[in-house]
Amino acid sequence: MVLPHLDAAYNLARWLAGNDHDAQDVAQEASLRAFRFFENFRGENARAWLLTIVRNTFYTWLRKNRPPEKTVEINDETLDIEDASANAEAVSPQFADAETVRRVIAELPVEFREIVILREMEGFSYKEIADLAEVPIGTVMSRLARARKLLQKRLAAEFNPGDQR
């Protein structure tokens, strides 16, 4: 029940931790913990359950190993500026090379990053993400909206440097 979802576990750990070595540690510890606590699992969604453990393992690991990640203050004002400039057609996916997109996602504050990963890469519903990240659905929605605006703004800056109105 752990191994079929190992890709998802590793992907989340890799996006949270930011490098392969730490991600492997987190994914491995989480998998073994998931296995050990298997008895507590009450059959709904194994992948969501495993990812909850990955996430908790990561934050425990983070507290032990790293100074708190700098949380960027994002206020609505900066986002409104972006809103006004969003008249241009966005970069089409074919032109956005994976390397740059990856860097732009990695630059998101961690609490935005995890929601983007869970929604866009894992396809979880708002409700599932809320349960997994232990925040209200409203918070999931507002973080997702802000994360998307930030991503659009930064991707536009990367791919249309001259188009910053």
């Binding site: 029940m1 752990v2 191994l3 079929p4 979802h5 190992l6 890709d7 998802a8 576990a9 590793y10 992907n11 890799r14 996006w15 392969d20 991600a23 492997q24 994914a27 491995q28 998998s31 073994l32 296995f35 298997f38 699992f41 009450r42 059959g43 709904e44 969604n45 194994a46 992948r47 969501a48 359950w49 969003a86 008249n87 057609e89 966005a90 970069v91 089409s92 996916p93 956005a96 994976a98 997109v101 990856r102 996602i105 983007v116 929604r119 866009e120 890469m121 396809g123 979880f124 519903s125 708002y126 599932e128 929605m141 997702l144 909206a145 998307r148 991503l151 659009q152 991707l155």
Partner: protein, 259 residues
């Protein structure tokens, strides 16, 4: 609806999280407001950018191996089908946990909790088959994204010819097929993918009357949809969320209508 009301709904709409009444209103607004329509297109484009496979980090083989060897009893010794049933009983008695029996235990848990129905043993069989296909590196016998390779491959292996559609355009690319054994007969298993989620679609002929797709209770986090059409029964199973799995079923069914 004005832009001020529409803006915050565009995200939930793209995520399939908007309720029906609001969907209609928003769609009406998007038809008439070019700024909101652009915002919607830009969001679709962002979502597509984020979904590309190149961004997904698959677990390194070394990690998989390390975890396998750290588990009490390696999951790589997944028994074949006859041994499987035996393993359930035996391990239940001894409560020895291995990767394989963990799955079986979850199954037993589901069995004891869920209400019995005529389709349930089959649903269980299908989920097991799906899990086994992922575990034992026997997902596919014929690996191809070409429906004209996959369909003929079944010739001579089955007494029917399954409809094979590539749904790449709908972002459910066909990745292959294999033979499986369900409900006491050989069946076709078509394998599709959405992102990293594998979808097994089991197909076989039956005298069942036509029925619309029905979502069955999720088992161990796997979603199941069953329908029958023109003398064939279909079972789709995946860890994909229910909504997208239903999209898949509709896209597949729409494809078969055309043939």
């Amino acid at each position: 609806m004005n832009c001020h009301q529409a803006k915050p709904l565009i995200g939930p709409y793209s995520d399939g999280e908007l309720e029906a009444a609001a969907i209609l209103e928003l769609e009406q607004h998007l038809k008439t407001c070019s700024a909101c329509a652009l915002a919607y297109r830009n969001l679709q484009s962002l979502k597509k950018t984020l979904k590309q496979d190149a961004l997904y980090f698959s677990a390194p083989e070394e990690l998989r191996e390390r975890i396998k060897s750290a588990l009490p009893s390696p999951a790589k010794n997944v028994p074949q089908r006859p041994a499987w049933n035996w393993a359930v009983n035996w391990n239940w008695l001894t409560t020895a946990l291995s990767g394989a029996t963990a799955v079986c235990l979850a199954l037993l848990l589901v069995v004891t909790l869920a209400r019995p129905s005529s389709e349930e043993p089959l649903a269980r069989e299908i989920v097991s088959s799906h899990i086994r296909s992922l575990m034992s590196n026997h997902l596919m016998d014929v690996v191809s994204t070409d429906q004209h390779t996959v369909k003929p491959w079944f010739n001579g292996k089955l007494d029917f010819s399954p409809l094979v559609n590539d749904l790449a355009a709908q972002e459910f690319p066909l990745i292959g097929g294999r033979l499986d054994y369900l409900d006491g007969r050989s069946v076709a298993a078509l394998v599709f993918q959405r992102h990293k989620h594998i979808i097994n679609l089991f197909v076989w002929p039956s005298k069942e009357t036509d029925s619309k797709p029905v979502v069955l209770a999720a088992q161990q986090g796997y979603h199941l949809i069953h329908w029958s059409e023109r003398g064939m029964v279909f079972w789709a199973v995946s860890d994909l969320n229910e909504k997208e799995l239903m999209e898949f079923v509709q896209d597949y069914a729409a494809g078969t209508q055309l043939k």
